[in-house]
Structure formats: C-alpha cells, structure tokens
C-alpha cells in the first residue's frame, strides 16, 4: 500500500493529474479552485511540463485546444462562471475529437453567485454544456482521495475514445483536507503511445488537420453520427456507481459528490431509527447509471434524490426509473450546505408520503 498524505482536495486533484501524465496546464484564477493552478505552476516545471496563466478562461481553453491537438496530456480547471466561458472551446474540442481533461470545482450560481460549494452545474456538465450535439465524460468525486485518483481514469477514457473528460467537484471537496492515497503507479509519459492524429513534425507522413467543421451538405451529420457510436460504447462500458445498503432498502437515496457524503450520514441516522434506507451514488454522471437504477426500481418503491441545487440530477433519476417508482427530492440551491438532519427529515417525510401514496395508488 502506498503511503497516505494529508491533502487539500484541489491540490490532490492537481497532483493526481500530474501523476496521470498531464504535462500542460492553462487556466485563469477563480475561487474556489485556485489551489489547482497554484500547485501546478511549480509542480509541472518539475516534470518538464508547461504551465500558462492565461489572460482569460476563453484564452485558457483555446490554449488547451492547441496543446491537446499536439497529443500532450493537458488540463484546465475552473469554477462555474469560468467553465461557462470555456464552453465554446470545449465544444470545439469535442467537435475535433480532441482528448483532454478539465475540472469544475462548482460554486453557487447563477451569475457571480457565491464561492461556496454547490451542485448547480449538473445540467451543464451532463448535457454537453456548449453548443451542438456532443457529450463529455463526467466523474463526480465525493472525497479528496477520489479527487486524487479520478484524473487517471479521465485520461484513460479521453484517449481511448478521443473525447473531453471532466471531474465535477464542488467548493467543499476542493477546499477540505483528507488523507489521500495515490492508487496507481505514476504514468511514464515517455512510454505513452504516439497518437496518429496529433499535430507536430509531419516529416515522412501525410499532413494532418484538426478542425470541427464540414460545410458540405450532409457531411456534418455523418461526422456527428460517427461520434454517437463511441458515445453508445461509453454508455455501455464505462458506467461507474456505488451502492450502499440497497439490498434491503425501502427507500434509496440518490446523491453524488458532497450530497452523497451528507446522505451517507443521514442513512446511518435513519438506520439507527429502524428505517431501511440505502444509498445509490452515481460516480459517472455521464454516462449515467440508468440501467442499474432501473433494476433497483423493479423492487424499490421510493427514491429520494438529494442535491445541492434546485433539482437537476433528479431528472435523470426519473428518466432512468421511467415511472417504476416514486421519486422525491430534497435540495438547496445557492451554495447552501445540506445537513444530515435535513436529509433525515426528508427520509422520514418520504417514508410517510411514500407509504401513503402507495397505499392509495397501488
């Protein structure tokens, strides 16, 4: 077992990204993710990597577009308003089939909002985010340890399928400190394979082009549909989730990231009161673990979705269950943190409501 280190979420993410082979970073300061660029500004030069503080988020994502086109493992990070600014560039990367990794350490929105942790960017992350039809592989860590280890998985997926990948964290996970264990050996970038699409020295080969346009009639449709094939493959093969005490559960909590941690605490309190509560934690938000949820829906009547938002993932839960079970929601927007007591009360309400409604409906 590797040694454990006490690290801040954002720093663990940054170190994990370097260990996963990242050698180029461009970003722009924004709270609560500033430890990421600060850490990488000294860490990347240590491994012969490049760090650029860009003039804006827009410039940063375009530096990534350029760097990613050369095949180097690269990264940018930001927080909600900054990620909004990056969406055009992310769309270009998706449209040009460029692999890269980014992190959104989400804060309260909309607008300037606040700098507290929130989960209001779920729709933006899981629906592509920018213009046009595309998907981004989204992982939602619920601990500093996952912040450290998810970049590795994101790069694997990014290069395997040539798509943008991201970690959707929040200000709480970014700022808190926990013991971290880097679960994988550090990637040796000199052993990474040459990419047969990457721009560079074209001596002895055909020239290469990276772009996201095709104005010929019908051609763009073909291009987008080609991409759909890999999206289907990802939905088939790359889904990740965690189940806790769902076997005998009457009510299943569905939550990701910080909400999952709070829900876990509420689950323990509810179990002590004799309520049979389980927790389903999606780890990949796209692809969403809809098949597994649907399976659970075959035998569980009540689902309670907990989010630090007005309710965004709850729509995916409803789509997954497709009317099989009752879906309840508890959430708070604006960067307000949900407490375990609040979730416990929501569980108790669900227990009463669920029983009552089923008594009348079924």
């Amino acid at each position: 077992m590797a040694e454990k280190k006490l690290m801040k979420g954002n720093e663990a993410l940054a170190e994990g990204t370097v260990q996963a082979g990242c050698r180029f970073f461009a970003g722009y300061p924004i709270t609560p993710q500033n430890e990421v660029p600060e850490y990488l500004s000294w860490r990347l030069p240590e491994v012969d990597g490049k760090f650029v503080q860009a003039e804006s988020e827009v410039a940063a994502i375009n530096m990534i577009y350029g760097a990613a086109a050369t095949g180097v493992r690269c990264m940018t990070s930001s927080s909600s308003p900054g990620i909004s600014l990056k969406q055009e560039g992310i769309s270009y990367c998706a449209g040009a089939d460029l692999p890269f990794f980014y992190a959104n350490v989400v804060r309260g929105g909309p607008g300037l909002g606040n700098i507290a942790g929130a989960q209001g960017d779920y729709f933006q992350s899981t629906r592509g985010g920018g213009h046009g039809d595309y998907k981004v592989f989204v992982m939602a860590p619920d601990s500093v340890n996952e912040m450290a280890n998810f970049p590795r998985k994101c790069y694997e997926i990014a290069y395997k399928y040539r798509i943008p990948t991201m970690v959707l964290a929040d200000g709480i996970i970014g700022q808190m400190m926990e013991p971290v264990e880097f679960e994988y050996p550090e990637v040796d970038v000199s052993k990474l394979p040459e990419q047969d699409w990457a721009l560079g020295i074209s001596k002895g080969r055909e020239r290469r082009r990276v772009n996201s346009y095709d104005l010929r009639e019908g051609q763009l449709e073909i291009m987008v549909n080609d991409r759909v094939k890999k999206y289907k493959e990802i939905e088939e093969n790359e889904v990740m989730y965690e189940e806790i005490m769902t076997e005998d559960a009457d009510i299943i909590l569905v939550a990701y990231g910080t909400s999952a941690r709070v829900s876990m605490a509420a689950l323990k309190m509810a179990r002590e009161k004799g309520l049979k509560v389980g927790l389903f934690r999606p780890i990949t938000l796209w692809p969403y673990p809809k098949k597994k949820l649907a399976e659970l829906g075959d035998r569980v009547n009540n689902f309670l979705v907990v989010e630090m938002s007005l309710g965004q993932m709850v729509e995916d839960v409803m789509l997954s269950l497709n009317g099989k079970s009752k879906v309840f929601f508890y959430g708070r927007p604006g960067g307000s943190v949900i407490t375990a007591e609040e979730v416990l009360k929501a569980i108790e309400d669900t227990s009463k409501k669920g029983a009552k409604e089923h008594a009348t409906i079924k």
Binding site: V58, G66, T70, Y92, G200, G204
Partner: protein
C-alpha cells in the same frame, strides 16, 4: 523547356475560394513560398481563423488546426508551449484579431510568445458579408454602418501595429500591403523575417498586411487597389514598427 515558376510545395492543390481581387490568395502564396524557402513545411503547424481564411487549413500543405473566432494566438500558444520544436503561425483577419480576439493577440504579445502572426487588414468583415470592422475607416460604409463609420458612434479605426509596438515583449512588427508588385516582394521579405525570428527563438513577430475586399467594398478590383493606396495607407502607414532582438 525551363520551369520558371511553380506552385509552392507548401500549398495544396485545392482550389482557393477567395473572391477575384482579394488579397488572401497572394498572402497565402507568400507564406507558402517562405515555408518552402526556409525548409520548414514539415515542422510547421498553422492556425486557421474564423472569417474568409477559415478554409486555410485546406490550402496550406502542412499540419493545420482551425479554431474559434479570434483565439488563434491562444491556440498557437498552446501548440508552441507543448511542442516547441514546431514552427507555429496564426493567420487572422481584422475582425478576428482586432475585435473578438483583441485580448488574445495583446496577451500573446505581452508573453512574447515565440510565434508568427499573419494579420490581414481589409477594414471589413468579409465572410459574414461586409459588416463594420474595428479597422473600418471613418466614413467607410459597411452593412452595419450604412451611412459610413461615424467616430461619434463607432470611434476610430484601431491601428494594431502601432499599439502592439508599445508592448515591451514584442520582437518584430511590420505593416505592408500587397496591391503592387514591389509591395508583394516587400511583404514576402517581412513574412520571411517573421518566420526566421521564430526559428531563431526571438519571440513575437507580426506582419500586418493591408488587403483588398472588392466584394464587400462594392468596388472593382482595380478601384479597390486605389482605395488601399489612397485611403487605407493614410490611416495605416506602411513601415517597420518594431525590430528588436527579441523580448525573450
């Protein structure tokens, strides 16, 4: 028979779609000739803009990338930092570089990125159909200022070369034109120098090239060359604005 002239190797065989009398084709050829002469075609990566030159990634016979409007210098920064052994150029028009991409061009100059910028200034948005550009002359008509540019409403045309020359990190800045044969030769020399500087690691070089847009200026190609000579060159004087050993 003796071969006197041929298409540069650094251009593809794709037929360009530029309008008759447009300067883009001339400048493309000059960039390609320079790439041939400096023998850098197989290590050059070009960045195509949004605008009339959007298809430049079809025309230049080297590795090419086409990116979002105005972001060429940021894309070039990413490429050059990630792959310093490559020669990187960004080809941009005046809407691209001086309007939406103002921040990227200025900050790549501030960082003294070791890249080459080819800047086509024809004082109009071409691809979108003749809207006012930040470089549109006072009194010049455009589809979004049908009575002519009025400084009270739209300010004055921005002189990019003069402005960039005030930035300490810049290495080489020259404004040229391509409406006469001697100026074409002068422009080629400027482009060559801008690439040579990058090869020598000297830092940020930009060549601003005054160009014609007969289609959107609503002029014949001949009248358009007169317009460059009589009107544009008054506001955008040709010359070397910066020639230093480099910000690096």
């Amino acid at each position: 028979m003796q071969l006197l002239n041929k298409k540069p190797e650094s251009l593809t065989d794709v037929q360009m779609r530029y309008c008759p009398g447009c300067g883009h084709g001339v400048v493309h050829r000059l960039v390609a000739e320079v790439m041939d002469e400096l023998n850098i075609r197989d290590k050059t990566i070009g960045v195509a803009p949004v605008g009339c030159a959007v298809f430049a990634d079809e025309y230049f016979n080297c590795d090419m990338i086409q990116g979002p409007h105005g972001r060429g210098p940021a894309i070039a920064t990413g490429i050059k930092r990630a792959k310093p052994e490559a020669i990187v150029f960004s080809y941009q028009g005046d809407g691209d570089l001086a309007s939406i991409g103002m921040a990227e061009i200025v900050h790549s100059a501030i960082r003294s990125e070791n890249i080459t910028i080819i800047f086509i200034n024809n004082a109009i948005y071409g691809m979108t159909g003749g809207q006012m550009a930040p470089t549109t002359l006072v009194g010049q008509k455009a589809t979004t200022c049908v009575y002519g540019r009025d400084p009270k409403l739209q300010g004055y045309p921005i002189q990019m070369s003069e402005m960039l020359a005030t930035i300490k990190g810049t290495t080489y800045i020259e404004r040229t034109a391509v409406h006469t044969a001697p100026l074409v030769i002068k422009t080629k020399n400027a482009i060559k120098k801008a690439f040579q500087n990058q090869i020598d690691g000297k830092g940020f070089s930009i060549v601003e090239i005054l160009s014609t847009c007969p289609t959107n200026w609503r002029m014949t190609p001949v009248k358009a060359t007169d317009y460059v000579k009589d009107k544009m060159m008054e506001i955008f004087p040709l010359g070397v604005y910066k020639d230093s050993d480099g910000g690096k």
